[in-house]
Structure formats: C-alpha cells, structure tokens
C-alpha cells in the first residue's frame, strides 16, 4: 500500500498523466510539497556554499563575487518565494484546508491545477539562472538603480515573481471562496481550525498585496529593457518608491509565511496535548485579525536608514512596535494551550516545542529592530540576518516540518517517527542555534550582510567558522530528514487511522490517504463539535 496506489482510483498503479492532469486538491498539495522541497534543497545548497565562502575572510571557493551574489540571490528568492510560501500556503493549505472544513474539493479545481503548474514554471525559470550567462545578482529585493544597471539578467527575477505571484493570487481566490462557501454544515466561523484561519488570513494578504509587487517589478523590467524611467531619479523617477512598493508587499509576506506556520503549530500542540486552544477568539480576532490590520502600515521599518522623512520613520516605529500586541495575543494563546495539557511527545510535537523557543528568539530580537534609532546601527548587519532567519525561516520551516510529520500518516498511510526522525530533529535544532547565534553577536559588532569577503574585520573569523559548522549540521540533519520521509512514504510502518487521537475533521472523518471526494459520506457536525474539544468537561 504505497502513496500512489491509495490516492489513485481503485488500486491502479502510478500513472504520470494522472498526476499531470490531476485536479484533486490532495494530489496538487503533494505536487506543491515536491516542488517546494526541491526548491528548498537547491536553495539550501546555496546557503551551504555561502557559509563555506564566509568561513574565512578573503575569496574562498567562489570564482568571483558575482557568482557569490548569484548564490545569495537564489538562496533568498527561492527560500521565500519558492519554498516557504508555496510550502505553507500551497502544500499545507491545498491538502488539508478542504479536509479541515469537510469539503470534497476546492471551489475551482481546474484553476487550482493551473496554479500548481505556474508554480513549477516559476521554479524552472528560477533554476535556469544557473545555466544562463549573467545570472541575476540583485538579491531577492531587486532594488533599483542597481537592478537596472546590473549586468545580470533581471528579467529572470521579474518573470519568476510574475509566475509565482499569479499562481498565488489564483490560489488565494480559490481558497477564500472555498472557505466561505464550502464549509460542511455545522462548521461555524468560530469552529474553524486555527490553521484554516491563519491560512485564509495569509491568502487575504497575498490577494491584496501581490499585485503591488507585480506592478513594481514590471516597472523594473520596463526600466531595464525598454528604457523607461520609472525609478530613475535623473529623469523624474523616485529612487525610493520601488523600495516602498516592494516592502508594502514583502512585509505582509512575512506574515504570509508566519501565520500559516502558527496555524500548523496550534493544530499540532492542541492535538498532541489533547487540549483546547487557549482563548480561541482572542487569538483569531485579536491576534490574526490584528496582524491583518496593522501589517499594511509598517513597511517603512525596512527603510529606516533609507533617507525617508524623519517624522515618518518615527511614526512607523510606533506602528511597528504595536505589532507586538497581536503577536503577543497569539503567543499567549500558544503558551496557554500547553496549560493543563496532556502532551504526548513525538517528532511532530518536538518540532512544535522547539518552535516555541524559535518564535521567542526571533520575535524578541525584532523589538530592538523596531526602534528606528537602534536600527540605524543594526540595519543590514548579520544581526538582522539572524533575526529574520529565526522568525521567518527557522520558525516557519520547523512548523512546516512538524506539520509534515503530523500529517504524514494522513498523506501516505505510514508513520515517519523512527529513530532517524528523532536524531535528525536534534541535529537540526542544535544546528540552527550553532549557525545563527554567532551572527547575532558579530552583527552587533558591525558585520555587514551580503559580504563574500570581510578582510576589514578579521576578528570575526572564528564566529563565521562556527556558523559554517552549524550550517553543515543543518545540512546533515535535513539530508537525514528527507531520506527518512522518502523511505517512510514507501516502507514505513503502516499507520492506524487517526494515530494521534485528534478531533480535527481530517483525522476523524477522512480515511488515511483519502481518495477522490475525500470523505466516505457527507460531513455533518454536531452543535458542540469543535476541532479542539477533547471531551473533558
């Protein structure tokens, strides 16, 4: 009983065309998982190259700084746009959101299929940057004038953003309509899984803000290849406007990644702790809703040293700090869900538990960065680098990996919780701390980001060396993790139905490896049903 045979119709074997032409949200989810993990592996290898280069000052393994810069570009762009966002809002949402609301499919299955292939097109376009001459070297931010005057092929960046953006907007439309109209009878708004809430919040943000990014990069394209002057100050353009537009999308994009990760975390913790989510309404309406409200007004904190008017920078300091209120409410609910729980530890729960500390580290180091005047020193140093890796990359990736372990029996009918899983979890957890703690320290001392060479700061070499060792630990841990997943998907021990004893619909009403239509019979829930109600009065 392998993954393919159970998800396909009546015991037929693996057929490539069925996967290419599929409109089943679960298969599309698996396709998203494969694509985003592929992007993760390649971008992860780039990170490894970057760390090797930075292990010592002076040129190391790179042919030229341009090559190093193209690694940085690919690492950033692929990790954010092709791994984290599609992994969380593509894979997790596609496979589990319809199951969690008792829907048989999404509202527009064919559009869903279209958007996954757009995503694959984007990945191929991004990967092409390894074979074309003059790979893009403009970082994932692509600030003009450099992105316009750079010898690199900025067009590959722009078209990658276009394809992914289009794919995300289609996905967002699809899932929002699905949640609004296709919830099973009896599932009210206050009974949705937190993951459903965070996902539609993230998709709402995508829907509103992605077109702005798309228009900004399109104008970049025009500036570079068609000779327009949208961002050229010599001819009436505004040199800072691109940055404003970029972060107008890309700050909300941080929450597009953060929120679904939080959602997965809640579902794991509530299930493994057999506990109700603490203060559900405050978490949903205050926390998630609050983030939605504020996130559009804080982007200038990415431009604290970019020469914006002083009063604007100080005003945005206050709104940025206020983000701590909704995030604080979510954190209180996270912690509260542990209270008087009955926690069973397995790989999914271990990843979830480590996320508690990652969110603390990443969130709290964000507080100094919210202060304009503190950022005047810290901006663009490896302190910032370490901060956003903790909150955006590590927290979200760990939540996603936890989610994969949590839903593994559902997707493949087998368990992945072997010794390899436990060992790789510990290697990963230690590895991320070994990698990024030294970067905090040298960041405060003034180590800038995006440097292939730091001959002016030879005293930082030991720290970089430790960070590189950490990166190798993560590489080892991730290799073990992925081998474990592939092995377990085919040969792992068969999982019982609902192995965690969850009350959530995808476990209680759908079989493992659900076939087309998801549920054997239509889902109807009782009045007192909730995904987090474990029966203790």
């Amino acid at each position: 009983m392998t993954a393919e045979t159970t998800t396909a119709d009546a015991g037929s074997s693996f057929k490539l065309m069925e996967w290419i032409l599929t409109t089943d949200h679960k298969r599309i989810g698996i396709l998203y998982l494969i694509g985003s993990m592929a992007a993760f592996i390649v971008a992860g290898l780039m990170a490894l190259l970057i760390r090797i280069e930075q292990a010592s000052p002076g040129p190391g393994i790179m042919d030229s700084p341009d090559q190093y810069n193209s690694w940085l570009y690919f690492h950033g762009a692929a990790m954010i746009l092709a791994f984290l966002i599609p992994g969380l809002t593509g894979f997790a949402a596609n496979y589990f959101l319809p199951l969690m609301i008792g829907a048989r499919d999404v509202a527009f299955p064919r559009i869903n299929a279209f958007s996954v292939w757009l995503f694959y097109g984007a990945i191929i376009l991004a990967l092409l940057s390894f074979v074309i001459p003059d790979a893009p070297d403009i970082m994932w931010t692509g600030y003009p004038p450099y992105s316009v005057t750079s010898p690199g092929n900025t067009a590959f960046y722009v078209f990658t953003v276009h394809l992914l953006g289009f794919s995300s907007v289609l996905g967002a439309v699809n899932f929002l309509v699905t949640v609004i109209y296709m919830r099973a009878p009896g599932i009210g708004w206050n009974k949705l899984n937190i993951f459903v809430w965070t996902t539609i919040a993230a998709l709402g943000l995508q829907l509103v803000f992605i077109p702005v990014l798309a228009s900004a990069v399109t104008m970049l394209l025009f500036d570079k290849y068609l000779g327009t002057h949208f961002f050229n100050p010599a001819q009436g353009g505004d040199v800072l406007l691109y940055q404003n537009l970029f972060w107008f999308y890309s700050h909300p994009a941080v929450y597009v990644i953060f929120l679904p990760a939080v959602g997965i975390l809640f579902d794991i913790v509530a299930t493994m702790g057999k506990n109700r989510v603490f203060n559900y309404k405050a978490c949903v309406y205050g926390g998630i809703g609050g983030i939605m409200l504020i996130t559009g007004e804080v982007w200038v904190h990415h431009l604290y040293v970019a020469g914006m008017p002083d009063w604007l920078r100080i005003g945005q300091m206050v709104t940025t700090l206020l983000i701590s209120i909704p995030v604080g409410l979510i954190v209180i609910s996270m912690w509260g869900t542990l209270y008087k729980a009955s926690i069973t530890y397995n790989t999914a729960m271990m990843y979830a538990a480590s996320c508690f500390f990652l969110v603390l580290l990443g969130g709290l180091t964000g507080i100094p960065l919210a202060l304009t005047v503190v950022t005047v020193h810290l901006s663009e140093t490896s302190f910032v680098h370490a901060h956003f890796h903790f909150i955006m990359a590590l927290f979200s990736a760990f939540a996603l990996f936890g989610g994969i372990y949590y839903w593994f029996p559902k997707m493949f009918g087998r368990l992945a919780d072997g010794p390899l899983a436990t060992a790789s979890f510990w290697i990963n957890s230690i590895g991320v701390n070994v990698t990024f703690w030294p970067l905090f320290i040298i960041g405060v001392e003034g180590m800038p980001r995006r440097y292939p060479d730091y001959e002016m700061f030879p005293q930082f070499e030991p720290y970089h060396m430790v960070a590189t060792v950490g990166a190798f630990m993560i590489a080892l841990g991730m290799a073990m993790t992925i081998i474990n997943w592939i092995w377990s998907a085919f040969k792992g021990p068969i999982a019982p139905e609902n192995p965690w004893g969850s009350k959530s619909l995808e476990w209680t009403h759908a079989p493992n490896c659900p076939g087309p239509g998801n549920f054997p019979e239509d889902v109807v829930v009782d009045d007192d049903w909730s995904p987090y109600e474990y029966g203790r009065k």
Binding site: A172, V177, Y181, Q206, P211, F230, Q235
Partner: protein
C-alpha cells in the same frame, strides 16, 4: 465601443507627441535673450552637486528700509532666494515678475502662501546697486500689500562677499562689457530653514505647482499634522532633474491601481461560484 476607445487612445498619443516639444520653444526663448556667443550651458547650476549645501547664514544684507539683516534672520521659514541685479533691463525683471505671478496664483488657489509658509528674498549681486535702484526695481514689480511683508529685497552689505556667497551653491555671473550686461542664470533657489539648498528651479518655465512642490520639499518633512494633505499631495509628484520640473510619480498610480486587482478577482470569482452552484442546484431540483 472598440472604435471609440481606439480613437481616444490616438488622441491621447497625439496630445503627448504635440505637448512634449512645445516646452522646447519656451526654453529656447529664454536663452535667446543672452544674444551672445557665450554658451548658456556654463551657467547651468549643477544641481546634483549643490543639493544639500548650506549657504552662509551670516551673510549680511541691507534691506529696502536700510535695515541690516543676515540670511539667518530670514530662515524661520523655507526661503526662495532669487539672485538679480536691479539695473537689469532684461530678464531679472521677468524672473521676479514670473515668481510674483506664480505666487499670486498660489495665494489664491494654492496650498502654500507667501509669508505664511515661506518667504522670498531677492538679492542683488551687482556692487553698483543701491537702495535707490532697489526701490525702483521693487516698485516696478507692484507687489500686493499682503505679499510685501513676505518678500524682501536687499543688496549685499559687503558687495565683495557676494561672489563667494553665491558661488558656494554654484551660482556664477559676470559682467560682459561688450553687451553691457550681466550674464547669470535665472533661478529660484529653495532653501530649507537650515539654509540648505533643497531645490533649484529655472525661471520662465515653471507652473505654480512646481513652486508649491518645491516649497513643500524645502520643509524637509517638517509638516504639522494639519498639513498631512500637503504631504500626501506631494507624494504624487517627483522632481525631474532632466526637465527641471515636477512630473507625476507614475509608478505610485500604477501600484495604487494594482491594489484593486486581487480584490476584484476575488469578488468576480465569488459571483462565478454562486452562479455555478445555483445552476447545479436548479438542475438537481428539476
């Protein structure tokens, strides 16, 4: 419908094609006034070089009533500084007259007013100017009574110092005995309250909007809360160094327009979904 759209676009393109070159004769007419073999380009102030440069705030001048004051005394608000000479029979009068006309328009319909939001200072760089020529020049302008307090006319207290004072911001001038006239750029220098050059506009090609936006620029972000509208309005334009005027900040409008894209896609798909579901239900019902 399609046809109407196409002809509309054609008209739009034609308008752009015609309007573009139209600004050229205006500029050409200005430079013609020099009527000499001197290349007017050497008077062009290299704006990018002098932006942010602080003028000597202790530079002292004699005002129309014979009172002595320094530049610092006039910097409690943004300042428009105009270098002229009062015996000029050519462009100095025209330059000041243009500014006056622009300021009258701004007073009547604009967001910034002379005296309230900014001041104007006309200084002579000719050592032969005195209070008498100053008064004559001032009279010929016929300032309105409500504008006069915000507009100072002055001569340098120490005429030898003015070359260095103006030269610090790239403003050059010299006497041509052959033409019996001064060669000099006709420019409005916008100074922030710190006395720094925040914008330079060349005379004879400005709209009231340009002056208004340059004054807002010279405030350097020091807006009162009640002026937030001004700030918002100023975001819609950006300064075009090549054309020497403010032009629309097009990307802002494109981006604002694109904000509606996702939301409208969402609303459209809601309608589609409901219609489809209704059709299906009707079929099942029948």
């Amino acid at each position: 419908m399609k046809r109407a759209l196409r002809s509309f676009l054609l008209v739009l393109v034609a308008a752009v094609v015609v309007a573009g070159p139209m600004s050229v004769p205006v500029l050409a007419a200005y430079y013609k006034q020099a009527e000499s073999d001197i290349d007017p380009e050497i008077f062009k102030i290299d704006e990018k070089e002098v932006l942010g440069v602080r003028m000597d705030r202790e530079f002292s001048m004699i005002g129309a009533k014979g009172e002595r004051f320094t530049l610092r005394d006039r910097l409690n608000k943004p300042l428009i500084l105009v270098f002229s000479y009062y015996r000029c029979d050519g462009i100095c009068g025209a330059v000041n007259q243009e500014l006056l006309d622009l300021l009258v328009t701004l007073r009547d319909v604009g967001r910034v007013r002379i005296g309230e939001d900014f001041r104007v200072l006309t200084v002579s760089f000719d050592k032969n100017d005195n209070l008498q020529t100053l008064m004559e020049f001032r009279k010929s302008l016929q300032l309105d009574a409500d504008m006069a307090p915000g507009w100072d006319f002055a001569v340098a207290e120490n005429p030898e110092a003015i070359q260095a004072f103006a030269g610090a911001v790239g403003y050059r001038f010299f006497w041509s005995p052959q033409d019996r006239t001064f060669f000099h750029p006709g420019a409005f220098m916008f100074l922030s309250t710190e006395g720094r050059v925040s914008r330079i506009l060349y005379a004879l090609s400005n709209s009231p909007k340009d002056v208004e936006l340059a004054v807002l620029d010279a405030k350097q972000g020091q807006f009162k809360a009640s002026e937030i509208i001004n700030f918002a309005a100023s975001l819609c334009y950006s300064y075009n160094f090549k054309e020497g005027r403010y032009t629309y900040n097009i990307p802002l409008f494109i981006a604002a327009g694109s904000l509606t894209l996702g939301v409208s896609a969402f609303s459209a798909s809601m309608v589609v979904f409901r219609r489809r579901r209704k059709k299906r239900e009707d079929k099942e019902g029948s």
